[in-house]
């Protein structure tokens, strides 16, 4: 398998890289230290699985917007962390990751877990906690779809924390018009609630080239 490790200073994956380097199942290892390196590597070399740290989760989600669909459709994405907490698990699921790899003192499980993640035999969606929440995988990876510029104004004001009645007052709309629009945006983007929409709105930005 061909592996890309998205390394970051906050939670370096050096011990994982050492394990990968010493296993015959790994055909190639690419280590990226910046977002630009991640994007360039994925567009120029064969990569079966990209591995991010827990602290790199949010940033890695942003990178998905810069990748060709031909790359993302075949790429398996895994989070590797020493502390696989429930919030991290749920977040990874909502950010479209395929699996979470627990980094413990024992390393025997690492390669088999990556192989099962690539083949689809093992997935984050099978985790009991994730199953119980009935969430849409990757719901927070999308660009927001809207129907017109009034929708844009509504979600921009929602994104800075205004309640419905203040959005209505600011835009000169009735509260029901605001609510109908919010309900429609939530529906067409396959989201579950207002908070998810506000979160998507506030992270709806592009990675600058220097990142």
């Amino acid at each position: 398998m061909n592996v890309l490790v998205c390394n970051d200073h906050a939670e370096p994956l050096d011990s994982l890289i050492a394990v990968l380097e010493n296993d015959d199942a790994v055909a190639s290892i690419n280590v990226a230290n910046t977002g630009r390196q991640v994007i360039d590597t994925l567009h120029s070399r064969p990569v079966d699985v990209s591995i991010s740290s827990g602290t790199g989760l949010d940033f890695n989600r942003m990178l998905q917007r810069h990748l060709d669909p031909s790359v993302t459709s075949t790429l398996t994405r895994v989070v590797a962390t020493k502390t696989p907490t429930v919030p991290l698990l749920v977040k990874a699921h909502q950010f479209g990751f395929n699996n979470v790899l627990a980094l413990t003192e024992h390393t025997d499980h690492i390669i088999p877990t990556l192989q099962r993640s690539i083949s689809g035999e093992e997935s984050i969606t099978d985790h009991p906690t994730v199953k119980a929440l009935h969430l849409t995988p990757g719901a927070l990876t999308r660009n927001i779809s809207i129907e017109d510029h009034k929708d844009q104004h509504v979600i921009e004001l929602m994104g800075v924390g205004l309640p419905d009645h203040e959005i209505a007052e600011a835009l000169g709309l009735s509260i029901q018009t605001v609510r109908n629009r919010i309900a429609n945006i939530i529906r067409i983007n396959h989201l579950s609630n207002r908070t998810q929409l506000a979160l998507l709105q506030n992270t709806n930005w592009q990675i600058p080239d220097f990142a």
Partner: protein
């Protein structure tokens, strides 16, 4: 506190007699969940309700299947607030 009065409305009335737009979105679960309904018929005028509801109406879900009864607060032909009545004992009080 006075009990509210429910005045049955004639079946001859239409939704247009009461509001400009028959579609409204009900917000539940601490402002998180948005559900859109369409008013089929206004059934009662509500008087002296301590939470300010002015009408009861039959409603349908817009984006899926289902019917319900809604308490509505209507002013100047605009629905200002709503509460979906979930069972027969619900009197519209929080």
């Amino acid at each position: 506190m006075n009990l509210p009065h429910y005045v049955l409305l004639s079946e001859a009335t239409s939704v247009d007699d009461f509001v400009d737009d028959a579609m409204f979105t009900d917000v539940t679960k601490d402002g998180e969940i948005y559900t859109t309904y369409r008013i089929v018929r206004f059934t009662h005028e509500v008087q002296e309700h301590h939470e300010g509801w002015t009408h009861l109406a039959n409603v349908t879900l817009v984006h899926s299947e289902g019917i319900a009864v809604a308490f509505l607060r209507v002013r100047n032909r605009i629905i200002e607030d709503s509460r979906i009545r979930t069972h027969s004992g619900d009197t519209g009080a929080s």
